[in-house]
């Protein structure tokens, strides 16, 4: 499989950083096309920074970021994003929130008005996939946090992005809802060809969903360990209680503990 995201020797310093210290340093990472990659690391180590670099929302001071074979010099377009905070617009219905990316991205932008019905059908299909069938007419604030997060996943996927960036998307949810959403995410990934980078601090989440897991060091962040996850797909939630799963999580814990101790 070909490389889709290639981050080479990247060092990034925020323009507004008070101490001028880099957020990430000598960061190297490659993610293959259609791969599900997870990035775990202690809080403040630069995980969100990595996402911004990969989507062209920030540009590195040193090193290069290549996405889809091209060096990133502007926001990449076509990336879907979801955050811990669902950031739904409260004045739009859930359906209109999901259609928002289509009002931005070409060719949908110019097609949207004429082919509205087609896009609405697509959005409703996505809603059904995440377990929100028939809820599109509701306003986001009429939905629970978990439901809003499902809708936010639909918004991230409606324009069929090549790259999906998830920044701790399930971090604010209770355990049951979170595990439900893991399965939703697993099924979405199976149904759509898309490269996914998931940032999380939940090691079980990373182990259950990802094909490959990267562990980051404390700030300034770099990759200290890389681990293939070989559990066959489709995975069932049951595997999270199996012995190999537990030992994988334990191993990841070890890397993170080391990274924290080194800081």
């Amino acid at each position: 499989m070909t490389t889709f995201v290639d981050i080479q020797d990247v060092t990034h310093v925020y323009a507004r950083a008070e101490d001028g210290a880099p957020a990430v340093q000598n960061l190297n990472l490659t993610v293959r096309e259609d791969e599900f990659a997870a990035i775990v690391g202690p809080s403040g180590c630069g995980k969100s920074t990595l996402m911004k670099l990969a989507t062209g929302l920030q540009f590195p001071r040193e090193g290069t970021v290549i996405v889809g074979g091209r060096e990133v010099g502007a926001p990449v377009k076509l990336a879907g994003m979801a955050f811990q905070n669902p950031t739904m617009l409260p004045w739009r219905t859930t359906l209109d929130n999901i259609l928002l990316p289509l009002e931005i991205v070409e060719p949908h932008r110019s097609r949207l008005r004429k082919h509205k019905a087609e896009y609405v059908a697509k959005a409703e299909c996505l809603l059904a996939q995440v377990g929100l069938k028939g809820q599109g007419h509701k306003f986001p604030w009429q939905l629970s946090g978990g439901m809003q997060q499902r809708a936010s996943l639909c918004r991230a996927l409606i324009h069929e992005p090549k790259l999906l960036m998830l920044d701790e998307p399930f971090g604010a949810l209770d355990t049951f809802t979170r595990e439900e959403l893991w399965c939703v995410m697993r099924d979405l990934h199976a149904a759509q060809k898309v490269t996914i980078i998931l940032v999380t601090h939940d090691l079980r989440e990373a182990a259950f969903l990802a094909d490959r897991i990267f562990c980051m060091s404390a700030r300034p962040g770099r990759i200290v360990a890389e681990r293939e996850v070989e559990f066959p797909r489709p995975r069932d939630l049951e595997i999270t209680y199996s012995a190999p799963f537990a030992s994988l999580v334990q191993e990841l814990r070890g890397h993170i503990a080391q990274a924290r101790a080194a800081a």
Binding site: P75, L89, P90, W91, L100, I104, W141, R155, H159
Partner: protein, 256 residues
Amino acid sequence: MTTKRHLHLAPWIFTLGFFLAWEIICRVLKVSTFVLPAPSTIAQAIWEYRNQLAFHAMHTLWMTLAGFGIAVAFGLLLGMALGASRLINAGTYPLLVGFNSIPKVAVVPILVFWFGVGWVPPVMTAFLISFFPIVVNVATGIATVEPEMEDVLRALGASKRDIVFKVGVPRAMPYFFGSLKVAITLAYVGSVIGEQNASNVGIGNLLTRASAAFEVPLVWAALVVLAVLGVVMYVITALIERSMTGWAQRSDMAAA
């Protein structure tokens, strides 16, 4: 349910109580009409001068609405520019704040030099005094778009313009309508100041003439008419606000 009824009645009861207390104080202490006329005396004056008051009030209303309308259009545009561009924001704020600090009474003579006595000075004064809160509120609403929302859109290739119009402006609407309630009352003050100094008609002009002639009950009658008009305009603005930004008023605090 009863609390809701009480809440509906409360403004009427408090207002009536206020005027009743005023009336009683005037009668018991035998306050001279020259110092403070009783509400009954003012009511009488309102009835007596009803034609004159209605004519001048209509004029003031027009001046206010015209100035307010210009302030809304100008305030929205400038607020959008300020909210969208950090450069414009940083550059123009000192000018804006400085201008807003000038008492508008002091500007009326200049308006008279420029436009002469007539309808222009009251309209201009109403505009100048009321646009500032609109600008500040619209700019704040736009400038405080959640960074994550901005990231989502920018990663899709959205331009600054897309973000301002799709997220910033709708998001600023509750701030905008909130500022209108302040602006409409300010516009009233502005048009009356303008009329007092540079017009031959309007409640402001009537006030000037009545106080020069020591017609105290008429002065008070004009003030009461102004206050009532102000409340009516405020209520209309608040109703428009409620119907336009229902999504922003979903907390129990707003409903109570």
